[in-house]
């Protein structure tokens, strides 16, 4: 039976390591495993930074971590947006499902 309470968790693995470089308001990630360079803007660098410890996080946990430093507005919308970013990062291979 599917677990209806399941919440997707995400993590960064050591194998997903990137080298970051800030160019004005843009951040570059050089992804060692794929050799790809990703150009990202806020809030992606902030999300990646808060996953650097390798621990699993849900969108809710990420929201709470970001909310310590930023005013994110209505929680529900913010979590939806964070989820979209995390899923996009999974698609790029920079983050994996926990």
């Amino acid at each position: 039976m599917p677990d209806l309470d399941a919440t997707t968790a995400y993590r960064r693995d050591a194998a997903d390591a990137v080298t970051a470089c800030i160019l004005d308001d843009l951040t570059l990630f050089y992804h060692h495993r794929s050799g790809q360079t990703h150009m990202v803007i806020s809030p992606v660098p902030e999300i990646m930074e808060r996953m650097a410890d390798g621990a699993s996080v849900t969108a809710q946990v990420m929201h709470d971590r970001l909310a310590r430093d930023y005013d994110l507005g209505p929680q529900e919308e913010a979590i939806a947006e964070i989820t979209a970013h995390l899923d996009a990062l999974v698609a790029l291979g920079l983050v994996r499902l926990a």
Partner: protein, 287 residues
């Protein structure tokens, strides 16, 4: 192949073979001042061969190939054999060079520091580098600038300058007929004529320099100078590079350092004189 020549341009050595004598004879004449590297081991082979056996003699049609080739490259007429050889060499560099980050850019040097100019075909970067090379700068290359990812230096690749359409007369007037190749009429890129770089550009083709200014020239627009964000500069330079992805992390490190350290401007100009004035002023202010 029946006819061949070995040429060294900057750090790259090419062996060019041809089924016909004419392109090789033209290369030998135009590259006469370059180092004699007969018998050297070449980095790349370029072959100008008939599209089929008959086409060696009947309406001769050249297929450009070599170590690296494009399956769908359009055949060219023998009258454009010199251009075919130059395109063949460019193709090998673009597809096969791994020792430096290859930027589709022209470059000139003064006092050991390098001005790099990048832009699309028709932007004027080639013509500008050729003319600056006659005005106190050392010409380093009109097509490829080689970025050494370890040292950050730009190395020369001073092949013949390929001039198109309106640029031909402008440059021929400036350098004189003796340094101009044959006029190649109605190629896929219009009329083309090659120019031999000055002898000092050839003699010093192993000497690089640190980049001091990056320009994005655009010919045919009202005079203007614009700043660009570092992100846009990085993106444009990766687009201007044929081997950024192939080189991996050294290219990332080398190119991001270039973007962070080298001042850059986009310049629009409607005439050569306008461009020279802009280059002089920006070099004075920024480099």
């Amino acid at each position: 192949m029946k006819h061949n020549i070995t040429l060294r341009i900057g750090p790259a050595t090419f062996r060019i073979g041809s089924a016909w004598p004419q392109p090789i004879a033209q290369l030998a004449q135009l590259y006469a001042a370059y180092p004699d590297v007969r018998g050297a081991v070449a980095d790349f082979t370029v072959r100008l061969q008939p599209t089929n056996l008959l086409r060696r003699v009947l309406r001769p049609s050249i297929f450009i190939t070599g170590d690296h080739g494009l399956a769908d490259a359009a055949p060219m007429s023998l009258a454009h054999g010199l251009l075919a050889a130059e395109m063949g060499m460019n193709l090998q560099m673009a597809l096969g060079w791994r020792r430096h980050l290859l930027l589709h850019a022209s470059s000139v040097e003064k006092d050991g520091r390098v001005l790099v100019m990048t832009g699309e075909s028709g932007s004027g970067k080639s013509t500008l580098s050729a003319l600056l090379g006659e005005r106190g700068w050392r010409f380093m290359g009109d097509e490829f600038a080689l970025l050494d990812c370890d040292s950050g230096a730009i190395l020369p690749f001073p092949r013949l300058v390929s001039l198109k359409n309106r640029a031909i007369d402008v440059v021929a007037d400036a350098v004189g007929e003796a340094r101009m190749g044959p006029l190649l009429n109605a190629t896929a890129k219009g009329d083309i004529r090659h120019m031999v770089p000055r002898s000092d550009a050839v003699a010093r083709m192993d000497q690089g320099g640190m980049p001091a200014l990056l320009l994005f020239p655009r010919f045919g627009h009202a005079a203007d100078v614009r700043t660009l964000g570092q992100g846009e500069i990085f993106m444009r330079l990766t687009q201007a590079s044929t081997n950024y992805v192939a080189l991996g992390e050294p290219a990332f490190t080398g190119l991001t350092r270039f973007v962070r350290q080298v001042p850059a401007r986009a310049i629009d100009f409607a005439s050569g004189e306008e461009a020279f004035a802009m280059v002089d002023r920006l070099w004075e202010e920024l480099a």
